[in-house]
């Protein structure tokens, strides 16, 4: 009562067993100690995250301001707006954004609000328009955002009213890397390339599967949700530990449908996966695929008809990139998380997944399928089947991930235990089923919340450094 929001946005909780006080009590206390939200004890080889990080409305408000309004956020892919006038409407951190290709071919992004009185200017999710007109008072904007028309304009005194300043509002920063467009709402920020750090090399490995160096998003979006904290999906998307217990029905299917193939001499690759810290909280697990990869790893399930084409593609990859990188692109999976809310999983098929919280215990998720731009016909269909068998809200695996996250959120409310344990692999060179990738992510999250700078996100200097050249075989 009587406290300002900034004072309320402070949370009191402690490591060491003190019970979390009720939220009402907290708002009276008005003291914040975010320093113990993440406990990173290298000596004891323990890493814990306080569960209020996933449940507290106050921390959620801090995240909106200190994470989502400061980081680079994924906006969309080049291939979603190929022609001048093409647009996509996206919502990032609760903000409606127009992502479009202007008539001059440049990609631009605007806050979707009329500079006059606020109504949204773009009222469809996608399409092609050269002109955007606000329906409320009919102010009209061209695809570069310039105000080009307004009814009865003689009513405006031009002493202080400058039409040139009344165009659509650009987002603070917009940039792309190899077809992936990002924005930042922060007035000042590092360049996108610096922000991506080592994640750029992983994106290279994914994009280089295409002969033209271009990927394309198939039409159709998986738009779904989970009644869970948004960070749980970042963890889950790069979690190699949950695969076997959570996705047993999928693995059963693969086994019996001819979807797995381990040739002689390949067995040793199976246990050789690793986790890597890529800088700025980004992380990847990279591990050999016993299953098919539509790009260049055939399995019997795909059928004999398509086999020659896929095997030819494998040889072409070797020719283009050399046998080491060719093998890496063709046969290795990469689950990549780019802090804070982008996942690119190059697993069987390739998916882009981004998610935004609506509340501490609710997020909305959008996911797409990526394919080499030149891929079509049966190759593309094989890829889409491969995608759908595992991925998406109707797949044989993703529904169980949604269930797992929601189950955790219900479990947090059960109380009694204040901490999540994320220590797995802290004492060794981290494997793909360890938790280095999550620690990396949480360290960055904690630094953002605390407004600190970090220079090393790994467990110890030199651990989990991504190998740029060498192939990670056993």
């Amino acid at each position: 009562v009587g406290l300002k929001r900034s004072q309320r946005s402070v949370l009191l909780h402690y490591a060491g067993g003190a019970e979390l006080r009720s939220r009402q009590e907290l708002s009276f206390v008005g003291v914040i100690d975010t320093s113990r939200l993440v406990v990173d004890d290298g000596e004891a080889k323990l890493f814990r995250v306080h569960r209020s990080s996933m449940t507290s409305p106050e921390i959620f408000e801090l995240e909106r301001a200190r994470v989502f309004d400061r980081c680079w956020l994924y906006l969309g892919h080049d291939s979603e707006i190929p022609e001048p006038g093409d647009f996509q409407r996206r919502t990032l951190n609760g903000r409606s954004i127009m992502f479009l290709r202007s008539d001059d071919g440049e990609v631009r992004a605007f806050h979707n609000t009329c500079p006059h009185r606020g109504a949204i200017v773009c009222r469809r999710d996608s399409g092609n328009q050269r002109v955007f007109q606000c329906f409320y008072h009919a102010w009209t904007f061209d695809s570069r955002g310039k105000l080009t028309g307004m009814p009865a304009k003689e009513g405006y005194d031009d002493t202080g009213f400058d039409r040139a300043e009344r165009g659509l509002t650009h987002v603070a920063h917009l940039d792309s890397y190899r077809g992936f467009w990002f924005l930042s709402f922060a007035p000042e920020t590092v360049s996108l390339r610096d922000y991506l750090a080592g994640a750029a090399e992983v994106i290279d490995l994914i994009v280089d599967q295409s002969p033209s160096g271009e990927l394309r998003i198939a039409h159709g979006t998986h738009k779904y949700s989970s009644r869970a904290n948004w960070k749980l999906l970042a963890e889950n998307s790069v979690d190699g530990y949950h695969g076997v217990p959570t996705h047993q029905t999928y693995l059963d299917y693969l086994t019996k449908a001819g979807g797995l193939r381990v040739d002689e001499g390949e067995g040793k690759k199976l246990g050789a996966g690793r986790a890597y810290s890529l800088g700025n909280g980004h992380a990847v697990i990279e591990y050999w695929a016993p299953w098919g990869r539509p790009v260049a790893r055939w399995v019997p399930q795909m059928g004999e008809e398509i086999r020659p084409e896929i095997e030819a593609n494998r040889r072409a990859l070797d020719e283009r990139h050399g046998p080491d990188r060719g093998e890496r692109i063709a046969e290795f999976n990469r689950n990549l998380v780019i802090f804070p809310n982008l996942v690119i999983n190059d697993i069987m098929a390739v998916t882009i997944r981004t998610f935004h919280p609506l509340a501490p215990d609710m997020m909305e998720i959008s996911a797409w399928a990526l394919a080499p731009a030149e891929e079509g016909g049966d190759r593309l269909r094989t890829r889409l089947h491969n995608f759908l068998e595992f991925l998406g809200p109707g797949g044989l695996a993703t529904p169980d991930d949604v269930e797992a996250l929601e189950s955790c959120q219900i479990g947090f409310a059960a109380g009694g235990q204040e901490w999540n344990d994320i220590s797995r692999g802290l004492g060794r060179e981290p494997m793909d089923n360890d938790e280095l990738q999550m620690r990396t992510y949480w360290r960055q999250w904690h630094a953002c919340i605390e407004e600190r700078e970090l220079t090393d996100w790994s467990d110890r200097p030199g651990v989990g450094v991504f190998p740029s050249e060498a192939v990670v075989t056993g």
Partner: protein, 170 residues
């Protein structure tokens, strides 16, 4: 629909009633989680498609859909839902399917094209979620009853939220 003789009107009504009876029976089978019986309703060349919420016209040959099952994948969907490891549906959710607005669009040879509006109410973990949409069937007239050759289920919602997943059959 210019032919309004009593015989043709009666034929049309009878066909609609037969189709409606079949679709309502399918709904009952699914609400009772009789999954093997459900699988029996399909022909072996059957397909089951659910397009995404943003592309109702989605073509699974080159668009991303939510579900694109042939008979084999459908069998695995059923196997999975019968398993205790389909975590989103173990234990099974309670569902109630409501079928309305049944229309027979075309009868040609042994094949009947029909549509129906559907609402699936799903209850689990204290939540109630509704899945609302349109079924498009291609049914094979097998005399006594029908078999499903193609089942396309289009969601009307803009996003699967707060539903989260299509874990039961929609």
């Amino acid at each position: 629909m210019s032919d309004t003789t009593l015989a043709t009107v009666t034929d049309r009504m009878l066909m609609r009633l037969r189709v409606e009876e079949f679709i309502v029976e399918e709904a009952a089978i699914l609400d009772e989680w009789r999954l093997d019986d459900w699988l029996e309703l399909f022909t072996e060349d059957a397909s089951y498609v659910v397009p995404t919420t943003d592309l109702a016209s989605g073509d699974p040959t080159h668009n991303l859909t939510l579900i694109d099952d042939d008979y084999l994948r459908l069998t695995w969907r059923v196997n999975r839902l019968k398993s205790r490891h389909a975590h989103r549906e173990f234990p099974w959710s309670r569902t109630r399917r409501q079928i309305t607005n049944v229309r027979v669009l075309e009868v040609s040879g042994d094949e009947v094209r029909a549509e129906a509006a559907v609402v699936v109410h799903r209850f689990r973990h204290g939540h109630r979620d509704s899945f609302i949409g349109l079924y498009r069937f291609r049914l094979v007239d097998a005399g006594e009853s029908f078999k499903i050759r193609h089942r396309r289920a289009e969601l009307d919602m803009e996003r699967l939220s707060p539903n989260g997943a299509l874990s039961m059959v929609f």
